[in-house]
Every structure is written in C-alpha cells, then in structure tokens.
Symmetry: C2
Subunit: 310 residues, 2 copies
C-alpha cells in the first residue's frame, strides 16, 4: 500500500506550497476537555518535527471565552525555552490579546475578521466596517513592535445566518486588512459550504483588484467533503498557502463524527500525488494524529489517518 500515491504533475500548478498548520490553535480551541500544557507542547513539537514550516500555536483570547487556551503565554514560553529559533504565530483577538502576546515575546500574530455582518456581530460584537476600527490599532502596534500580522477573514463563501456571501465584500474586507498592514490573508470557508468554481472566482477577484495571489492563504473546512476539491481549484488559481489541521482537529459545530478543518494528512496526500513540494513527512503527521487521537480519546477525523491507522 505505501509508496502511493503515484506522482503526476500538473504544469498549471505551483511547484511548491506552504502548509500553515492550525491544529494546536484552531483545532484545540473547540475541544471541551482542557488539554494539559505538556500535551499541547508535544503536539507542536511533533508537528514541527514532521516538517510543517508554520505551526500556529495558540490564541491569546480571553481565558473566560476559551478556557482551553488560558495557558497561551506558558505554552509560548515553554516552546521558546526549548528552541529559540522557532517563532510560532499566535492569534490575538484584540489589543488586550496583543499585549499578552507581545509580553510573551511573540513576533508573528494573527487577527480574525468577518466578511459577514451577522458573524461580525456575534463573534466580534461589531460590524464589517467597524471591525477595522478594532483591528487598526492591533495591527499598527504589532507592526511597530516588529511583528508580522496575518489576517483571517471568516465566512468568505457562505454564512449560516445570511446564506450567500458577496465575493466583492470579501475582497473589500481583505483589501482593508492588507492596507492596515497585514502581510497575508487567510480566506476561510468557516462552514465548509464552498465549491471549486466559487473558490477560483474569489481568487480571480482578488487578483483583478491588484492583490498578489501569493498573499492569499485558503482555509477550508471539510464539513460537506469539499475541502480538497476546493484546494485543487485554488492550486489551479495559483494559491500557494493552505491552512490545515493534523487529524482534522477542530471538530464540527454539527455532529461529533463530522469533520471540521481540512486534515493536514489528506492535504499532504494530494500535494504529494501532484508532485508539489511541501516538505512534510506524511508518516510523521499520521503518527502525530494517532498520538493526539489517543490523548483526546476519540478517533481521528481524517480519511488518510483512518485508512492508514485503522
């Protein structure tokens, strides 16, 4: 069985891509049982050892909202103490979060915006326009402190309350975040409803607006099984950064057995078959997923892990 998949290149696609691992942050933040600090640190260590070039480690969200990540500063300091050369990005929801991240010595931060009014209201207690007022000082102060800023844009392809999302609004929100000083946008299909032509269309609209496709990352959820088809469309549109979560960590708002984030190993399988360089060791990711599934006491949500471990 192993040795597969066969490698067949598609000359229309990038030669290499960056996998941006979000499991320790986006995955664990949805876990109801608090995961011990040492397990979180070991997860990050294993992902780094598997070759993942970027591992978002945690979020400096208020512990009252996400008790799971209350140990953000401890985790960052523990990991830095082991290897000073590693600088894992962290999410900062607001200025208070930025203060804590900077105090912990973080040099890569990410903010989390919304492309839709309902989600901006529910998640940020703001509006699509007013959220920029909130992010402005966060980005400005992060840059002044020498940090880089990634900006997530959520609900780019569909919204559970509003339904369809106007792609031109997504481009406008993205442009504002880049204008504030973000270096990269992560365009999120937060509820997993996107299909491939919609993805190609959105990327084309960013390009038509003069935004370099290399500044876009795609963040797909596999809720409806569409994530890898959407990655395929994004690769054909020239996208070179993809968010993924080992084992599909990230749960699902709908059902325990359903999947959330695109699983890193499913993405690695496809990229490997496409002959696209990614630098990640498939076996090491699958082993990490197996180990993490044991820690969490539930089976992995990824197809590749189930096929190879099961």
């Amino acid at each position: 069985m192993r040795g597969l998949p066969m490698v067949v290149r598609d000359a229309r696609m990038p030669e290499r891509v960056t996998i941006y691992e979000v499991g320790p942050r986006d995955g664990l933040q949805n876990e109801p049982e608090v995961v011990p600090l040492e397990v979180k640190a070991e997860l990050v260590r294993r992902l780094v050892a598997a070759g993942l070039p970027v591992v978002e480690a945690t979020s400096f969200v208020h512990p009252r909202w996400v008790p799971q990540l209350a140990d953000a500063a401890e985790l960052v300091e523990l990991l830095r103490g082991e290897d000073e050369s590693l600088e894992h990005p962290v999410l900062v929801p607001n200025e208070r979060g930025l203060d804590r991240a900077l105090a912990a010595g973080c040099t890569h931060v990410a903010v989390f915006a919304s492309a839709t009014e309902t989600f901006a209201a529910k998640n940020l207690n703001s509006t699509v326009a007013d959220q920029m007022t909130m992010f402005g000082p966060v980005v400005e102060r992060a840059l002044a402190a020498g940090a880089t800023v990634r900006a997530y844009v959520s609900m780019c392809f569909g919204d559970p309350w509003e339904g369809p999302v106007d792609p031109d609004v997504v481009v406008r929100v993205g442009r504002r975040l880049l204008d504030l000083g973000a270096t990269q946008l992560s365009l999120g299909d937060t509820i997993g409803v996107a299909t491939p032509a919609q993805v190609g269309d959105l990327v084309a609209r960013f390009a038509a607006a003069g935004i370099d496709v290399d500044r876009l990352a795609m963040h797909f959820h596999d809720t409806y099984g569409q994530a890898l088809a959407n990655v395929h469309a994004a690769l054909l549109a020239g996208v070179t950064t993809f968010d993924a979560s080992a084992g599909g960590l990230g749960g699902c708002p709908y059902a325990e057995s359903a999947t959330g984030n695109l699983a890193t190993e499913d993405l690695v399988w496809m990229l490997t078959g496409l002959g696209i360089e990614h630098g990640v060791d498939l076996d090491a990711v699958v082993a990490t997923t197996a180990w993490m599934a044991e820690q969490l006491g539930k089976p992995p949500a990824s197809a590749v892990a189930r096929a190879l471990i099961g």
Copy 2:
C-alpha cells in the same frame, strides 16, 4: 444553512453530468449482514424517486461468493413488476451470470475487468490479457440479446499489491473492452489512491487514443479523501458520467469508520455548487441515506449526510 451551496459556474466544465448510482450493488455487496429483499427494493425505489437516472440494482455473481446478492433475480423481477419502464443495470461476472440476468429480463449489464495482473489473478483467476477471452462471449451474447454493456476497469490508479499502475495499460484494457462492444467504461480507483493530475492524465491518454471522453465514467473511492478533488479534475477533462453510492455505501477494506465509494450526496453538493445539471434532489438522497443507515444500524459515511442529519 439550507439553500447553500452558492452556484458559481466554471465555463470549462460540462453543463450536465449523469450520476450512475452503485449503492444497491457495489455498496450492499460488502455488507456482512444479509439485507432483506424488501429493503433492497425500497432503496432502489427511493434512489429512483430522488432523481438518480441510473441505479445499478444488483449483481448476478454466484451466491456462494456473495450471499448478500443471492436474491438478484427476485429483486429485478420485483422492481420490474412495479414499473416496467425502469431498466436497472446489473453486474454479470461471467457467462453463467449473464444467463441468469438475461433469464430475469435484464437489458443493461456490466462486466468487471482488471487493469492489473495481481487483481486479475485474485478476483478473476485470470490475467489482464486472458480476461478478454472470458468477457468476449459475455459481451457478444449480451449484445446479441439486445442488451447494452458497461465495462468496469478496476485498479486504474494504483494497486495494493503492485503499487503504481501504467496508465497505458489501462487505456489498452479499456480499448479492448470497447472493441468487444462495451458502450461505456467505468474507470475505477478501487483503493482510492488517485490524485487529480493523475486523473486528468489518464483521461487525456484515452482521448489521445481516439476514445470519446463521453464513453468514460469515473468511479472514485474516498478512502484517502481524494474522490471529489478527482471528480473536479475529471470534470475539467470533460468527463460527464460519475459513479457514486448513496451514503458512501460500500464500506472500506481498512476500517469500519473509513469511507469507500464516493458518496452520492457529496457529489451532488459539489455539482450543484458548480451549476452543473444532474437532476438529483439532494434532500431526497440525504433522507434515503438516513433511512438506509437505520436499516444497517450504522452511521452514514458521507460528509454531507453527517452534516445535515447529525
């Protein structure tokens, strides 16, 4: 939530496709507990009512090998008794199976070939070359009786014993089956290892060999999560027929929780988003999957069903 996905067309793709439903045959043949005849008939009825234009109903395989399908003739006769206008295709492994299918009045049959020596030996007790000697009389006699013949080619993208599969061998096997008189080829990724560029490459090789892409169907398994990405590549290559199985019925050789056949509802979600006509009612398929999951006493394997039912 419902009303989604948003529709965005990709002008490079076909305007309509045919979904060839294989759940009642390819799905149920792997179920260890014998499903009652009435449940099988009701599954076919519900799939037809959901708008699926072709539903492969059963296999006239020897009952000793697949006891689950020992009631093939009864099922075919029961369904015809209810609606004479419906002619469901059936699998016939050999001349004896064809005799039984013709005696039951079937007018669409399918044979099952192998692209690799090891699978030809294990599944057919033959070789890639010699299997044609076996299929020749089956196809000839089926055509003489006025039936159409579909030919499955298994292991087109990878083989669990041999690993890589030479795509030119797949084209040669396919051409021989068409030369014998088959009207359609179903190219199977039996172990689910294919990735998209490999799919596009194989379709291009068939086209280069002068074979009309409209005579190809793609039969993907979702074992490694790649099925819909592969459908996407096949659509871009002009393929217009896709095999799928409601609820991903078809189990998996590796783990109970892992998926086998591409799930019809996951395919319908993507095609709907792509604005490709398919004639299938998503809600009706999901309801059928939910009903069948109750009959089998296990959760559905499709992402869409888990998201919408869960």
